[in-house]
């Protein structure tokens, strides 16, 4: 879900966050005012997520150029044969700069910009590496296409393989991933049959689906060491034109894969006054792939600790208890590395977590990813 605005390609989100004088600090200087790219949310001319729609696959895996913002969000927990654990994130954000592109004779002329984030978490060594890239959709520097499926920013890419799996490749410095990601369970439509309402206003919503348990195998390299790994990934797909509203400052988002083949996604949209927005949501996926919404009133999320970034000074919650009584779940969520903060154009925390607790009274464990924005 929500990774949505996070990186902020959700223009609106950022504008709103800044306008509300939230604790979002100015990101470190980077090239160009990407935040302004998100700029004053001029939604005119873009399509909006205003009602139900039918999802078609594989077509909907590809881009939806009529919407302002869209992302492909791969995260996963992996381990090598000796049990050494890794987390990774490879995300591609597409952002339309204008709904009414001018006719350009230069091949550099672009109306879309892509941003990508790539992280690797080395659990045993307690290391976390993150990188960011931008490129315009021009000259093959970046783009998204359905047939064959390919999303890329320069040499980072998600590429559809003939067998139906997706190959993720990214390299920066001595950090590299090359992973084969299968589809696993069928796509889960989040929110109301894929329409995920984020604010009270009509159209302040996104279309949102997830692939919650994707078998993954390949290679992870960090600091020059290379590891054969396998594990499971989670894909979040979301596209929208406007999402957050005034008063909403950020969110806490959880994607959890339990060892009994259940998956749980919950997010809390936080308001300026510290309360949780009623548009927070949750979804429980059954082992057979069927899913059901879990109303915010049906679960309870409590932070158990906090961590202050030595770099940015931001104070994030670190560690939670999550109880979903209707599903019989009492879970404890622990970051595998406390510092999994991405300090780029947009600063946020996104990292691998361990899950333990009980399901129907029986002990259970799991893994997942957590995203914290607006701190």
């Amino acid at each position: 879900m929500t990774r949505l605005a996070q990186a902020g390609l959700g223009a609106v989100a950022l504008a709103a966050l800044i306008a509300c004088g939230s604790r979002v600090e100015a990101p470190p200087p980077s090239t160009l005012a990407v935040a302004e790219l998100l700029g004053p949310a001029d939604t005119a001319g873009f399509e909006r997520a205003t009602g139900g729609r039918e999802f078609h696959f594989p077509a909907d895996h590809g881009p939806h150029d009529g919407y302002r913002t869209e992302w492909w969000y791969y995260t996963g927990n992996l381990a090598d044969p000796t049990g050494r654990r890794f987390g990774y994130q490879l995300t591609f954000f597409r952002s339309s700069l204008t709904a009414t592109p001018a006719e350009r004779s230069s091949a550099w002329g672009a109306d879309q910009v892509f941003m990508a984030h790539f992280t690797v978490t080395d659990v045993d060594r307690q290391r976390f590496v993150s990188h960011e890239r931008f490129a315009r959709r021009a000259l093959g520097l970046a783009g998204a296409q359905t047939e064959p499926f390919r999303i890329w920013v320069e040499d980072w890419s998600a590429l559809g393989e003939p067998a139906g799996s997706v190959r993720l490749q990214a390299q920066a410095g001595d950090t590299e991933i090359d992973l084969e990601v299968g589809s696993g369970k069928p796509p889960v439509l989040q929110g109301d049959a894929g329409l995920s309402q984020k604010g009270a206003g009509l159209g302040n919503a996104s279309y949102y689906y997830s692939q919650t348990r994707m078998p993954t195998a390949g290679r992870v390299s960090i600091s020059g060491e290379s590891f054969e790994v396998s594990g499971e990934s989670w894909l979040d797909r979301e596209w929208s034109t406007s999402v957050l509203e005034a008063g909403q400052i950020g969110w806490d988002w959880f994607s959890l894969q339990l060892d009994d083949r259940h998956e749980l996604m919950v997010y809390v949209i936080r308001r300026e006054d510290g309360s949780a927005d009623p548009n927070s949501a949750g979804t429980l996926v059954e082992p057979d792939g069927s899913s059901r919404s879990v109303e915010p009133s049906r679960w309870r999320l409590e932070p158990t600790g906090s961590w202050t970034s030595p770099e940015s000074g931001a104070r994030y919650p670190s560690g939670w208890t999550l109880s979903v009584p209707t599903a019989g779940l009492e879970l404890e969520i622990t970051p595998l590395v406390v510092d999994q903060e991405l300090r780029h154009t947009f600063r946020y925390w996104e990292g691998a977590v361990a899950v333990s607790g009980t399901s129907g009274g029986e002990p259970i464990t799991g893994r997942g990813y957590v995203e914290l924005t607006g701190y």
């Binding site: 100015a26 990101p27 200087p29 980077s30 090239t31 160009l32 005012a33 990407v34 935040a35 302004e36 790219l37 700029g39 700069l97 204008t98 592109p101 001018a102 350009r104 004779s105 230069s106 091949a107 550099w108 002329g109 672009a110 109306d111 910009v113 931008f134 490129a135 315009r136 021009a138 000259l139 093959g140 520097l141 320069e154 040499d155 390299q171």
Partner: protein, 848 residues
Amino acid sequence: MSPVLRRLSRRHFTRHPWQALLAVLGVGLGVAVVVSIDLANASALRAFRLSSEAVTGKATHRLVAGPAGMPEELFVRLRVDHRLRPSAPVVSGYVGVTDRPGRTLRLLGLDPFSEAGFRTYLERDTAQVELDRFLTAPDTVWLAPGTGADLGVGPGDPLDLELAGMPRRVRIGGLLEPHELRAESLNDILVADISTAQELLDFQGRLSRIELILADDGEARLRELAAALPPGVTLERAGSAGTTGERMTGAFRTNLQALSLLALLCGAFLIYNTVTFAVLQRRRLFGTLRALGVTRRELFTLILGEAAAIGAVGAALGLAGGVWLGRGLVGQVTRTINDLYFAVAVQSLDLDPFVLAKGAVLAVGASLIAALAPAVEATSTSPRSALDRAELESRTHRAVPRASAAGLALLAVGAVLLLLPSSGLPASFAGLFLLLLGFALLTPAATMLLIAILTPVAGLLFGQLGRIGGRGVVAALSRTAVAISALMIAVSVIVGVDVMVRSFRTTVEGWLEYSLPADLYLSAGSAPTGSLDGVRPGFDAEFVERLGVLDGVEAMSTLRQTTVRTASGDTRLIAVDLDARSFGSFAFKEGDRQEIWPAFERGAAAIVSEPYASRTGVTRGSEIAFETPAGRRTWPVLGVYFDYASELGAVTISRRAYVDLWGDQSVTAISIRALPGTDVAVLEEAIRAAGGERRLLMRSNQAIRDDSLRVFDRTFVITGTLRLLATLVAFVGVLSAFMALQLERSRELGVLRAQGLTPGQLWRLVTSQTGLMGLTAGLLALPVGITTAAVMIYVINRRSFGWTLEMQLSPEPLLAAVGVAVGAALIAGVYPAYRMSQTPPAEALRSE
């Protein structure tokens, strides 16, 4: 130094305040000129460095190619396939401003997503750049606030540009506020997205360069990648553009500096003059002091101390004056650099403390050196002979042969320095200075000779008084020789610079005459002629064809000017398409036109301009190799032609070869010869009609000639300023010298008055004497000035710029110089004559 001596010194200068004043003024003026030129030079250089930093950013290397740039896919390939980063594509070119004819802006097209690490002015915390508009709004550019204010545009305003005559209206997207660079480094730069720049410059599909930041091990990597580079694309170290620019303007700046040193030389003479007088006047006093037991060392210290004081006060005055003057000159210097080399737009003066310190040291140093000789003289004389004036004069006369011998020796050393072919520019200037000093040392002997000839003439004109005046000059040689030398040097510098500039101008005029045989000239304009980088928009081939078939066109030549790479770095390449008759517009210094033409026309030979040949050593019989998109190509050089358009020089080949190799069809200038009997005005109209919406810069050969000469004259405005200052220094010098001389003669004149000389006769006496001295200085200045001119023309200009000038001697500057000398001398005599004539003889006799 004892307080008594110090008081003595103070007393002397309070009794003769004008003497101290003029000395201080002379030093001050000399230092002011040197400091102002230094400051202006340093500011212009810094301006250049800043703007090249703004343009090149922090790249360590770059990939460059010829006129057509490189395919943009190369960037994508390097970045995606070879993971070569940081790497930044750049499209750079020049555009004209419609409302400001002659004003050129640099358009810099950048990809904001590749900029991190290179340039900082697109950073979010400083830039008012909205990324969406930067990327998607066509024809939108960003600029620095200063440039915007200068052009009278702000965010949202339209700005009318011209590209090869085609009007293009752009919109100001916003202002750039670089935080790491001084804002002025972005002066006259328009920044746009790379797509916008390609569209404005009509450079779609191409990049001007790709910038790289390579780690130490990156070079090895690049060698691997070198295989991936298409022909014509080469890797070079960044910063070499900066050094090229510094090299380019080096000769120009050295020349300015040397001229300013000439002014200081005049100033030094002035100090010498003043200190000498101050010593000579007190010879008796010093003799008495020595007799009373003051040691030589004390006396020596006293004299040098006085000189140092004059130098220090003069330095303070000179620094203040230099800063004030520098503010005016920096405009002139940058203007010239803009005209001749590249677009820089810095008008503010950078007060470099080093330059100021140098000026102060120069002032005090020059004063001390000038005081050295009189100090030695005063202290080495025995107390008894110091009391005897006649002894001094006879000693002076005895010293004349020695001075002359020293002068001849200096002349010989100077001549060797100038004639040695291996001497560089600084050595040439040193040679010139030695020549001037040598001539100054020969002045006493020459004065004696000239006065011997002139005295009878003065006798004829003024009778007995004239003869007395003439003999007086020789009799007081210890004083008069210095004054005459100072005036002579100053006037000869004026003569030298005048003759050189006139010769230069006449040569250029002659060259313009034969090199512009056509009737009408069309120029795509925009780039400063000496600038070696950036896209130069040109006329398209289709437009050129349309012109060729117009009624009344007898012949048409086209020219494409661009920059290509050779073994000797960036080279201006001119590709011409012309017929045998138009080829006659080349005058060959080496090689025969008839022999060159067939091979040249086939595209099988190159010719080079004279400055290029002398700068690079590529001359007739050499070969020249260019990096072309088709790989390296070599041409034989068959001739060297005269050219005064650019001191950087150029290589000319036929258009046929150029189009074959570079595939570039556009041209930057067109010349049209009308059929005999054609009304050129009608033809002009037809051409304008063929141009459609293009705003054509069309000029007759006459207009081009006039424009060129205007630029020429503007270039020498600064020379004129310096000449004026040198004159001023000389004038102050002669004034102080002659006044001292005449006032010192109070007693002598008093005697004459007592013997019945009327005030009127006294006027005539003083006037005839100063007039004789002025005339002597003026006449001596002529050969010295002409020699100076010859040195500047045949040695310094050739070594600085590599071109041949024909020396033109016309009577005007020579007569004017003698006039200045005599005039200055006469004016200098007015006050003493007036004072003497007003003083009762008795008082004059009592005055000592």
